[in-house]
């Protein structure tokens, strides 16, 4: 039988052309025919256990579940015939037997599938008079609240754990009336995607614990936005009530985050109300104390101090460090201001050590789109703890792996994957292993055109595992070499990049690069790097990168969105200490700037500012501020705009962030039309291995990556947050 042939079925007496293998419910969904369901979910496998989607099919003696009935040629189906309605009504009655009538106290009330379907398909009165069952609640940790009496056993959460989360933590025990969903042995959920089961649950059995009882679905306003913690750029909805952020839920975007978001994106908003938010501008007085003041005098003090240094020691005495999660607008205005003052010392790569290859390296891009990741048949991950760095990219790669792709990984000890790898190379040093894989490819007769590669691979010792990895990449006609954040934090970053690039070239794979922060690509394109301007424009003199600035601290230092105590590479805090004049623009107080900064300007945090993030695919996504900044805080781009004007620099007359974006966008469009963006024609390798003794970076703990997540208490108390903290502390003492 030819599988491509389309079939004809009749649904409610209307003919539809369908593809073989489709289920009835999919056809109905595609054509806007409503069939009630609880257990069926388009992203999960079919379990057909709720029986809510029963429909009448011609010649079938009984009603059939639409979610598990494949289409057949000439099939006639009725979703609203008297028989179908009677069946749906009976199922609804059974489901409601043990469901408590506690909608008024249930957080799901108002957005509950069971409520809605009971209204549409249920009876108006219950006939059940007997005792309802009660189920003990489970403790799933600080993120997910449970109310297991409400559970209708649809098993969506169970299937999510197995199929999407990758950790089979939740399951069903017992059967019939004794069935219970739970972890069996009490434990907190440890998946980095665990919050999604809250959205999946069709009733109020699984709820958001931090959000519990605080607001109703109908009294919140929903605003689309972009998640600010990783380079996936997940689409989210920020829901507010009375000008305060109440919760964050995903916004479906099949091309980016499907309909999932990571726990980090979901629960980070809880840090917004932290006590140590900066709400007042502060200036250090003669006695060395920070005192609160008004914006005017704080801005004037900042300008005066910076101007004094620039006048005295020249523009190059000024340096600027900015968070890799700043918006494109902030990056652009900051670099425009710093360059306007005659300096090129600007950097957003805060945890990087080795900058020697920056001129040759491409911007951190995935190289393919996120949906394309699923179609790869061979993937080599180099130096990444993907589940922590980019949870939803890790999910895409897992999907590829489950579909048969050969995934190998070179990573430091302690990185855990939630599926079987083809080759897992957990090592103390990344470089020798990556070199060995490159050498294995060389031995297979590849890479003759890459001059200088042999210099890097001569000392490498090729083992069987390296050969297997190399072969898997060669076998895959769609292959991806992915360089992650740990590789960028390595002291041999330039070597790792060159080797990964060489492996990609030799095996015909795409080189994908994903570093830290929500907007590292935006930082590069907006020119917040010392070696090129906006849209890769060549600069007259290459400024100092972060590594150089740490060695030779600039006399005046601008910090933007940085919590110095946690966000920076080793040694950088001391460098701030040696700087003469420090201006810190930040949303949260940190000990370093309160000890050292001469001027502290309070910046609006995420959700309070408008801006744009460029995700790892290169997709520009703008978002609006949805609540007003706390206290006197102002959006970062506005602060920079005013500073730029006070410095008497030209081109800072922007009315809104939109017009700043236009300016960047124009420059980048021109660059793309010239084709100068990512076309690196020749492979360039560094001359030697540089620092060969340094061990691989263990990376930043999943919930320690930026100031906002560090202040989200529930995330810190979650099992993942705690475990990581523990590990982190151990690493620090060792």
């Amino acid at each position: 039988m030819d599988n491509k042939e389309s079939l004809t079925i009749q649904l409610n007496d209307i003919e539809y052309q369908v593809e073989p293998g489709q289920m009835l419910i999919e056809v109905a969904d595609d054509n806007g025919i409503e069939i009630p369901r609880f257990c069926y979910h388009k992203k999960l496998t079919t379990s057909a256990n709720c029986r809510m989607c029963l429909v009448e099919v011609e010649k079938a003696p009984k009603m059939l579940p639409a979610c598990a009935t494949p289409v057949m040629d000439g099939m006639k189906v009725w979703t609203k015939s008297p028989k179908a309605i009677a069946a749906q009504k009976s199922v609804m009655e059974f489901l409601l037997i043990n469901h408590p009538l506690d909608c008024p106290v249930c957080d799901q009330g108002g957005e509950c599938d069971l409520q809605e379907i009971a209204l549409g398909y249920g009876a108006d009165q219950a006939r059940y008079q007997e005792k309802k069952r009660i189920v003990k609640d489970k403790n799933y940790g600080p993120l997910v609240a449970t109310e297991m009496t409400r559970c209708i056993h649809c098993t969506r959460c169970v299937r999510f754990g197995v199929e999407i989360g990758g950790i089979a933590e939740i399951g069903g025990t017992g059967r019939g009336d004794h069935m219970e969903i739970g972890t069996y042995v009490e434990k907190s959920l440890s998946s980095e995607l665990s919050g999604n089961i809250i959205d999946l649950c069709p009733v109020g059995a699984l709820l958001s614990k931090p959000f519990l009882y605080t607001a109703r679905s109908w009294e919140m306003k929903s605003f689309p936005s972009i998640a600010a913690h990783d380079a996936v750029g997940s689409n989210i909805q920020i829901q507010t009530r009375n000008g305060a952020v109440m919760r964050v839920v995903p916004l479906e975007n099949e091309a980016i985050n499907e309909l999932w978001i990571s726990d980090r994106d979901r629960f980070s908003y809880l840090g917004l109300e932290s006590d140590d938010r900066l709400t007042q501008p502060m200036v250090r007085n003669e006695e060395g104390k920070l005192i609160t003041t008004d914006w005017q005098s704080a801005l004037e003090a900042a300008v005066k101090g910076v101007q004094a240094v620039v006048n005295g020691a020249g523009g190059s005495a000024l340096g600027a460090w900015t968070s890799p999660s700043s918006t494109v607008e902030e990056f652009y205005l900051l670099q425009k201001m710093v360059r306007g003052l005659g300096s090129s010392n600007i950097d957003h790569r805060l945890r990087q050590y080795d900058f020697s290859g920056q001129q040759e390296q491409r911007s951190p891009r995935l190289g393919i789109t996120l949906p394309q990741v699923e179609q790869q048949n061979a993937i080599l991950v180099v130096g990444a703890n993907l589940r922590h760095e980019q949870p939803l990219l890790a999910h895409r790669i897992r999907k590829a792996a489950l579909a048969g792709a050969e995934v190998s990984s070179v990573h430091p000890q302690g990185v855990v994957y939630n599926y079987a790898l083809t080759q897992e190379l957990a090592v103390d040093q990344l470089t020798p292993t990556v070199a060995a894989i490159a050498k294995a490819l060389e031995e297979m007769g590849k890479g003759s055109e890459l001059s200088g590669l042999s210099a890097l691979t001569t000392n490498a010792v090729v083992e069987a595992s390296h050969r297997v990895t190399a072969e898997s990449l060669l076998r895959g006609d769609q292959a991806l070499v992915l360089l992650g954040g740990l590789a960028y934090q390595d002291h041999n970053q330039s070597v790792l990049y060159a080797l990964a690039d060489a492996i990609a070239v030799m095996s015909g794979a795409t080189l994908g690069v994903v570093t830290e922060g929500a907007n590292a690509l935006g930082g590069q394109l907006a020119g917040a790097v010392p070696h090129h301007g906006v849209a890769k424009q060549v600069v007259d003199s290459v400024g100092m990168d972060l590594g150089t600035m740490v060695e030779m601290p600039p006399k005046a230092l601008l910090l933007m969105g940085i919590e110095a105590a946690e966000d920076l590479a080793e040694g950088a805090v001391e460098a701030i200490g040696q700087s003469e004049f420090v201006v810190s623009i930040a949303a949260f107080a940190d000990e370093v700037s309160s000890r050292k900064a001469d001027v502290v300007l309070p910046m609006a945090a995420f959700t309070e500012t408008s801006g744009t993030f460029i995700n790892m695919e290169g997709v520009w996504q703008s978002f609006q501020g949805v609540v007003s900044p706390k206290g006197e805080a102002r959006p970062g781009w506005k602060i920079l705009r005013v500073l730029g004007t006070l410095f008497n620099l030209d081109g800072f007359e922007f009315g809104d962030s939109e017009s700043v974006l236009q300016e960047v966008k124009q420059a980048c469009d021109a660059m793309e039309s010239e084709g100068t963006d990512e076309e690196i024609t020749s492979w360039v390798g560094p001359a030697d291995w540089g620092n060969s003794s340094a061990t691989a970076a263990s990376g930043v703990a999943i919930y320690r990556g930026d100031a906002l997540t560090r202040r989200s208490q529930p995330l810190q108390q979650s099992s993942l947050g705690k475990a990581e903290q523990h590990q982190h502390n151990e690493g620090a003492t060792a």
Partner: protein
């Protein structure tokens, strides 16, 4: 003939007397007027006066912060804020109650009596008979902000009138 009749009516002030006879009838009837405040009008058990929040017999407040009254209020006179409360939450899991985290309770329950139109929808919407309208109609405010009545005040009104409220609900319950 008609002309003569008309003339007679005009000169005898017939229509005026006809009108005054109605007035005169009521002059000798029993008076409707009540000597308020000495006398008061009878009230229906459905009388919709000042609001109150009720408690259960064990002293626990009835309101569960479901916010249905807030949602149904046509004048948007009700403002509720809610949070879990651990105090007094049952340790053992009972029907609809949780052992992991406290009960759903209001932290704020304000009614702006200037906005309120006394339609009684809040009482109608309440699934636990917590917000009710009492028979009280004699009250005043001494400041602009005095019109906002808080949760504490509402509970106090409920406590003071509980026997009357319970009796009224009992009577009206037959028709619901």
């Amino acid at each position: 003939m008609d002309k003569l009749k008309k003339l007679l009516k005009v000169w005898t002030l017939w229509e005026l007397l006809q009108g005054l006879s109605v007035t005169g009838k009521y002059l000798f009837k029993k008076k409707f007027t009540l000597n308020y405040p000495e006398e008061k009008a009878p009230q229906s058990p459905r009388f919709r006066g000042l609001h109150a929040l009720r408690r259960y017999e064990d002293g626990e407040e009835r309101c569960i912060a479901c916010k249905l009254c807030e949602a149904v209020c046509p004048a948007m006179a009700i403002t509720i804020e809610a949070a879990p409360r651990n105090e007094g939450a049952p340790q053992v899991n009972g029907a609809g109650r949780s052992s992991n985290y406290g009960n759903r309770r209001t932290t704020r329950y304000d009614i702006d009596l200037f906005k309120c139109i006394f339609c009684g929808y809040c009482q109608e919407a309440c699934p636990v008979d917590a917000i009710v309208e009492t028979r009280i109609y004699e009250y005043c405010f001494e400041s602009r902000t005095g019109s906002v009545i808080t949760k504490e005040e509402l509970l106090k009104i409920g406590d003071q009138n509980e026997s009357q409220l319970a009796a009224d609900l009992e009577v009206d319950g037959r028709y619901r």
